[in-house]
Amino acid sequence: MGRIQLKQVKKSFGDVTVIPPLDLTIEDGEFTVFVGPSGCGKSTLLRLIAGLEDTSDGVIEIDGKDATSLPPAKRSLAMVFQSYALYPHMTVRKNIAFPMKMAGVDKAEQDRRIEAAAKALNLADYLDRRPGQLSGGQRQRVAIGRAIVREPAAFLFDEPLSNLDAALRVGMRMEISELHKKLDTTMIYVTHDQVEAMTMADKIVVLQAGVIEQVGSPLELYRTPRNKFVAGFIGSPKMNFLEGPEAAKHDAHTIGIRPEHVEVSTTEGLWQGKVGVAEHLGSDTFIHVHGVPGCDPMTVRVGGEIPVHHGDTIFLNPNLEHLHRFDAEGLRIQ
């Protein structure tokens, strides 16, 4: 069981309010991702849930019980830190055994859980090494192993992949997702990377300056962002925003169109512009088009090869079905 509910939770450091009163429910077994730009209070929120910071106001309930003033160890939550926070003078086995030792689990049971975790995480060959002798990915696995053996009600991850190289990151992303499927335990995962959020989450919580901008499934956020911030934050490359007369034609202050929802033509189209930088990814090419009224540059996606060069004039046709409209406050117009 791991249902976590935040009711009017607030956090200030001195005079600075980092998280204004906030409500959030995380259902049992859900993979929830907190995503937002750096410094928006994601870690603080996670640490409030973990009990590593005191709330300034409000109530945190875990499985329906008030946990606001419980110490971290009593919340049956396990956390994986950004720096992994392994104990450098202990072997991998001792690291993983540490929480069980503290909880007074008997030796045989400890060994059984260590074996199981080591097998699940491919750590069996490294159990007698120290963290200093492991690669980044292996350390990450040890940190996860140390969390698993506690059999917690929920896992908390704070940017666990940000210290890994790109290839390893994709691999670990998969492993964590698989782990979630296998354990079926609540997981809260903090990241500033919207790709991680989109690929892993059941539910994404988009934060900005401590305020929840939107909560929803990845596709909900992609298809119906509640405001301009979410629209710009979710999706890669970013959504293009147009203001001025073009937006007025659609009765909006701002309109948004994603790069993948614009068709490119060399002969005719709604908007006209000059080709700037082209980013070739192989499967796709992203072209930055200059001179589109109200949006400079506009990014568009074309599949594979297209016979245009820097400086060429091209025409753009937005797919109006996928047009997003926002009012002057940046809120979505239905």
Binding site: A50, G51, L52, P71, P72, A73, L77, A78, M79, F81, Q82, S83, A85, L86, Y87, P88, H89, M90, F98, P99, M102, A103, G132, R146, R150
Partner: protein, 288 residues
Amino acid sequence: MATQHSRSAARLMMAPAVFLLLVWMLVPLSMTLWFSFRKYLPLRGGDLGWAGFDNYVRFVTSSSFWPSVMTTLIIVGGVLVVTVMFGVLLAILLDQPMWGQGVVRILVIAPFFVMPTVSALVWKNMFMDPTNGLFAHLWRFFGAEPISWLSEASLPSLVMIVSWQWLPFATLILLTAIQSLDSEQLEAAEMDGASPLSRFFYIILPHLSRAITIVVLIQTIFLLSIFAEIFVTTSGAFGTKTLTYLIFQRVLESQNVGLGSAGGVYAIILANIVALFLMRIVGKNLDA
């Protein structure tokens, strides 16, 4: 330093420094060795010729020798235990955020700047004096008979004085070590259910092991040769005669340079034995 040429150039350029160091070390050492085999009494005839191993035998068979070795080891060991224990506690205390941190830190470090002679005099006259010392007043306040510290509890008193001087050094090194501890490790341990005491023994103390090793090694070097504190307080009476002090007495009070030099050679041997034991016990903490 790869080619033949650059290697020999390097050797050539290092030669003067190496030579100077060798002379620096070897001249006093060989002079000590030389005198230890001579019968040399500066006020009673000067150099009276070859003495063989007489000096060595006399020094070791003197009734003061083994007690002085024991005294040396007790003082060194006692001060090490006191400074490391209180050093760790003080370092943890000073690491806590508190009001007036800067001033408190300077106050804690202050004793290190007081010269040994001065601090020993202060302790002897202001604290430990059996009639007028602060301790005597304190004892009388509680209705107890004042202790004459330096005669009745001479070794503990000396350990106390020397520890007071060396505590700042230990605290300072241990404090910097504690400050380098990743706070996420402590938080992880907290989430893993470790009580404050477990966090201390499982996380903080192992993290400090290297710093403690350095404190122990450096202090040992200096503590083996403490002199001023003994000279000023007890002049070697009441069982406070260390090996260093014994050598001093042989050379200056008995005016026997040969005997003192033999003692000096024993002191070198003792220091090396201690160093060997220390490296065996704590040296592995220095490996990365």
